[in-house]
Subunit: 106 residues, 2 copies
Amino acid sequence: MIKLSVMYPHTPGARFDHDYYRDKHMPLLKSLMGDVCLYYTIDKGLAGGAAGSPPPYVAMCHAFFESLPALQAALGEHGRQIMADIPNYTDLAPVMQFSEVVVEKS
Amino acid sequence: MIKLSVMYPHTPGARFDHDYYRDKHMPLLKSLMGDVCLYYTIDKGLAGGAAGSPPPYVAMCHAFFESLPALQAALGEHGRQIMADIPNYTDLAPVMQFSEVVVEKS
């Protein structure tokens, strides 16, 4: 299984609409990709590891796919429409990572 | 629900033993914390968002807890022993984040 992580770096003064992200953006991604996106998770950053430090990322999502080719095909087909929605909730540029899921849940 | 993310920045030449991390380190964390750690996930970084780029993180884990006080108590009790195991699998210093789980699975 493959995980796509999209991480929005915490930046003072930047805009991020957590409600829109939860209620509109991620449901848009899921509706476009359908069952190719097995499921997704959303995090809201609270704090970093050092006492009193901000979280490295103000928000993260992790979306799960059967395989890298399946994920790449879905991004190729729908990536433009998904990315066009980003300005509706943030002015941040996300950091992306493709990972192999070593342990899904233990 | 609260998520603790521990992320190991991709660094050329650095050491990271994915087998030890999966088979020894994360089971150690779970055995020490018991049911206070609801479950955890492990990722192995494959690639970044830009074509041909390395993953931002060579590995990540995400561990789930009922509440921030429960997580903080578990870290206070077992954090020293968990961190003492880090040199057994890597010479990297992890980035940590505490997050609120907005969507656990959708």
